[in-house]
């Protein structure tokens, strides 16, 4: 397959900035509206006609890679196809209501939220689910606050959260934001939780252990039952990072493994679009014993219809309102479309695809057996360079240099949506890039809109707005 990304350029810039196309300053004359000293003097913003804007954004869109253009196998990110119809469903004007509406007048909205709470609880083996956290990291933070509330209600002062070294950065940051000290757990030589190290780390200070399962190498924590027992015996709780749940749908549930709290990454597992970085949603499920601490409001069904309520010992709010509504609608629609069989099949094909792709690439995959993703190593080639070269083959490269456990890691997650031919293309991109000359790697990419971008210059001399570009040189 040959690939050349669209590339609009003139002089030394690609598509000019809006401000370079037009910059209009208007005097803010608020005569008769507000006293002069309460208003600003002027405002400078672009003022382009609608056709000009349509062209601006369409050109920019063409300088952007996406799932609908080709494979996007970013490990841990689950870039699967986002079904078109879910956009239309979320765009239903009758669903565009304000959060201050009384329950009686928004039974449709509450019905959907209630339905999604139930779906997610079933799929995760949890007893109750809040939909409020607006992303996975916010879900982690919410979950840890719930753990904290639980311990505090028992007058049990605990100060530590244990997190495996291979975990995602948000786990560490979320635990710290909730006020905990982080105890980092080394991996064993198989890439899984080191049981001895865990044993040494657990104490009466342990508030929770946060685990990703399968972990960020795609490996199932086989000792999960033993791990859960160890944590519970010490009075701690077990937290499940649901970023990798796409591997397990219908085959295993965090609740059955002994997890007390989990977040779902609906913008990964349940196919809501990533939108160039967000919005997502990070619903949190808990076991019965913790349901009273969930954020407020929750939705329940009564004889009179759906209603919102505040759980008895609620931790309060983690979002100003009810979270990322539009994302939740799309997640609901996706789950309802697939049903039991579809969900199980999604996981089966995700795992099949990862294993097939791994079998077709020349790079070594040091840890296994893996599920929906694998961490290949580019060995003595720089993984970032190999990734840049892969771009020239018209595919998005994997996540690079993470997890650190694997040197020059290329964490690859093709998801279930690729067929064999597309995986073969992807394997070809891997192998060709991996085998390319040093020079080809270092000068890549050459078929993308922009060529290799100087990260050092961006950081040494931060230019973060079009206003800052004027001051240069």
């Amino acid at each position: 397959m040959n690939f050349d990304q669209a590339r609009f350029s003139r002089d030394d810039v690609y598509e000019p900035l809006l401000s370079e196309k037009d910059s209009t300053t208007v005097e803010v004359d608020a005569d008769g509206v507000l006293p002069d000293d309460l208003t600003r003097d002027e405002l400078t913003l672009p003022a382009l006609s609608e056709p000009q804007l349509a062209r601006h954004y369409t050109r920019l869109s063409q300088m952007n890679y996406s799932v609908e253009l080709g494979p996007y196998p970013l490990g841990s990110c689950t870039m699967k196809y986002n079904p078109s119809f879910t956009e239309d469903v979320a765009g239903d004007p009758r669903a565009a209501v304000h959060p201050d509406r009384s329950d009686r007048t928004v039974q449709g909205t509450l019905g959907l939220l209630h339905g999604l709470q139930e779906y997610l609880a079933d799929i995760g083996g949890m007893d109750a689910v809040t939909l409020q956290p607006p992303a996975g990291a916010a879900g982690e933070f919410t979950g840890i606050l719930i753990a904290k509330a639980y311990h505090e209600a028992r007058d049990d002062d605990r100060s530590e959260i244990i997190i495996p070294a291979s975990a995602h950065g948000t786990n560490f940051a979320s635990a710290a934001m909730a006020g905990y000290d982080v105890v980092e757990l080394p991996s064993d030589e198989d890439g899984r939780v080191d049981i001895e190290a865990l044993d040494a780390a657990i104490s009466e200070e342990t508030a929770a252990l946060m685990l990703t399962n399968p972990n960020t190498l795609g490996l199932f924590e086989r000792d999960i039952v033993e791990i859960a027992d160890m944590v519970h015996e010490a009075g701690g709780l077990l937290y499940y990072d649901g970023a990798n749940f796409n591997a397990l749908l219908g085959r295993a549930r965090p609740g059955d493994m002994g997890f007390d709290i989990m977040h779902y990454n609906v913008h990964k597992t349940f196919a809501t679009p990533h939108g160039g970085g967000g919005p997502g949603a990070g619903p949190v499920g808990v076991v019965d014993e913790l349901a009273e601490y969930l954020p407020s409001p929750m939705v329940r069904e009564t004889a009179a219809g759906y209603e919102q309520y505040e759980p008895e010992s609620s931790i309060g709010k983690v979002h100003g309102f009810a979270g990322n509504w539009l994302v939740l609608v799309k997640a609901y629609a996706y789950i309802a479309r697939l049903g039991d069989e579809g969900l199980a099949d999604a996981s089966a094909k995700a795992v099949l695809n990862a294993n097939y792709l791994a079998s077709q690439i020349d790079l070594d995959v040091p840890y296994g057996p893996f599920h929906h993703e694998f961490a290949a190593t580019s060995g003595d080639r720089d993984a970032a360079d190999v990734a840049k070269r892969m771009l020239d083959y018209g595919v998005h490269p994997p996540t690079t240099k993470w997890p650190e456990l694997v040197p020059e890691a290329m964490l690859t997650e093709p998801t279930e949506v690729e067929d064999k031919a597309s995986l073969d293309d992807l394997a070809h991109a891997f192998n060709a890039a991996y085998a390319d000359s040093d020079e080809a790697l270092e000068t890549a990419p050459s078929k993308t809109s922009a060529r290799r971008i100087d990260q050092v210059s961006a950081a040494r001399n931060p230019r973060l707005s079009w206003q800052s570009l004027g001051d240069e040189e």
Binding site: A30, L34, A333
Partner: protein
């Protein structure tokens, strides 16, 4: 794979043919997909969720039916979540799959389009706030406020304590989120009183001390009041070495005093009012600050650099602040943010241009004033309750019980929010202004 009735068994979005699946299993060297799962028997799930798969047409119909259970009311609702008319261009272009189905721009060479839009969004916020650094999104206004407080606490300029002072009139969602974010940093929240809906500056002055790391004020407030003494509030904060954080929203910023001109160190608030309209509270958090706090900013930043052909190019930058590098010492745990909402907001601002943007902001003042006056003319009604300038919304006093009025208005096709037994909040923008006559008539009947 299809079953006898023609309906697909399995995921409709997994494209494997039987032949491909067999070839793939063969290449891997296993007999069945089940062999690839390394899950111990004791934690295997062999039950069902009981969720039936539904075909697309049926599902769309059933969800349309579900949403039809929402009553069609004209909303006069605000309190931090505002609806303005969203042009078709925003829907059309933001839904282009190149934008919608892309990930965070970890490979900037292939993601220039989105990066440029985010850079343009940041620049628009820089213009609106007058502050030189704006990030490319927080989840919403509430979490942005909480992040500002954490930033103030990290800087801890002169303060010996960890207190954040917030106004008595603050949206319960913002207060609740703030409480949760501050708990882990051992910070505390103090409340200062309002005087007729605006900051009681003297009382604030008495409350600020060297324990205070940040003073937060809003304009417009949750009750729609335009704050008249922002510069004084900023001075009080600065005299005590505390940061001054100003909450606002993207429309109000185009008209009201520029935050930098009144001494704001951080600006937070809602930007989703342009871009998504009513979305059950889903929003876009603004975060802008001074250059000197750049290294303390939470969230992602897009910057300019050059590529190997010396062309200007965009990239995520200063990432050492973020969780994937600095882990527990990151400035925030935020990873996935609201990028696509920021894209829509930038498109909406660009579509309006400065003239029309200032225009709808002025309308927000004049329409609110006119509506308040008309309600005030009704018997048993006083509006606005606060003798102040208002933006979009205001509080109404009613002799009759407010909850009953709210109910009766719903019966007549209008949604308003009862604050307590005798107070109702009413919000107007160009999105509902056409219904103002009928709204006043209905109000007259029920009040």
């Amino acid at each position: 794979m299809t079953a006898g009735n023609g309906r697909r068994v399995g995921s409709p979005y997994a494209p494997h043919t039987d032949a491909d699946e067999a070839a793939m299993l063969d290449a891997i060297g296993v007999d069945s997909v089940e062999d690839l799962f390394d899950i111990p028997a004791d934690v295997r799930f062999d039950d069902e969720f009981g969720i039936d798969s539904t075909d697309e047409r049926e599902l769309r119909q059933s969800l349309a039916d579900l949403f039809a259970r929402n009553e069609e009311l004209t909303e006069f609702l605000g309190r931090g979540h505002h609806a303005h008319y969203v042009p078709a261009l925003v829907d059309d272009l933001s839904r282009r799959s190149e934008f919608l189905t892309s990930y965070t721009q970890y490979q900037p060479e292939i993601a220039q389009g989105f990066l440029q839009v985010l850079f343009e969004y940041q620049s628009m916020l820089v213009e609106l706030t007058g502050l030189p650094v704006a990030n490319c999104s927080m989840y919403d206004a509430a979490t942005a406020l909480a992040e500002a407080a954490l930033l103030a606490n990290r800087l801890r300029r002169g303060a010996s304590g960890h207190r954040v002072l917030v106004p008595e009139h603050l949206h319960e969602g913002r207060l609740g989120v703030l409480e949760n974010y501050l708990d882990g940093a051992d910070m505390e929240i103090g409340e200062y009183p309002m005087d007729d809906g605006a900051v009681d500056v003297d009382a604030l002055s008495d409350l600020v001390d060297d324990e205070t790391v940040m003073v937060y004020a809003e304009s417009p407030t949750v009750r729609g009041v335009i704050e008249e003494r922002l510069a004084d509030i900023g001075d009080i904060a600065h005299e005590n070495d505390a940061l001054f954080c100003l909450g606002s929203d993207v429309v109000a910023l185009s008209l009201l005093q520029e935050p930098a001109s009144v001494g704001a160190d951080v600006v937070v608030g809602e930007a989703g009012a342009l871009g998504i309209g009513s979305a059950y509270g889903m929003g876009l958090g603004i975060f802008a600050t001074r250059e000197e706090y750049l290294r303390q900013v939470p969230g992602r930043l897009v910057g300019v650099s050059e590529d190997s052909e010396d062309m200007r190019a965009f990239t995520l930058t200063l990432q050492t602040r973020e969780q994937h590098i600095r882990k527990e010492r990151a400035t925030s745990n935020i990873c996935t943010n609201q990028a696509w909402v920021a894209l829509r907001t930038a498109m909406h601002i660009a579509w309006l241009g400065p003239d029309r943007l200032v225009g709808i902001a002025k309308d927000a003042v004049t329409e609110a004033r006119a509506l308040a006056q008309r309600l005030d003319d009704l018997s048993g009604v006083k509006a606005p309750v606060h003798d102040r300038h208002h933006f979009r919304e205001f509080v109404v006093y009613t002799d009759q019980p407010a909850p009953a009025i709210t109910n009766d208005l719903a019966g007549r096709g209008f949604a308003v929010h009862a604050l307590d037994d005798h107070h109702i909040q009413v919000c107007i923008t160009e999105a509902n202004a056409d219904a103002a006559d009928e709204f006043v008539a209905a109000f007259e009947e029920v009040a």
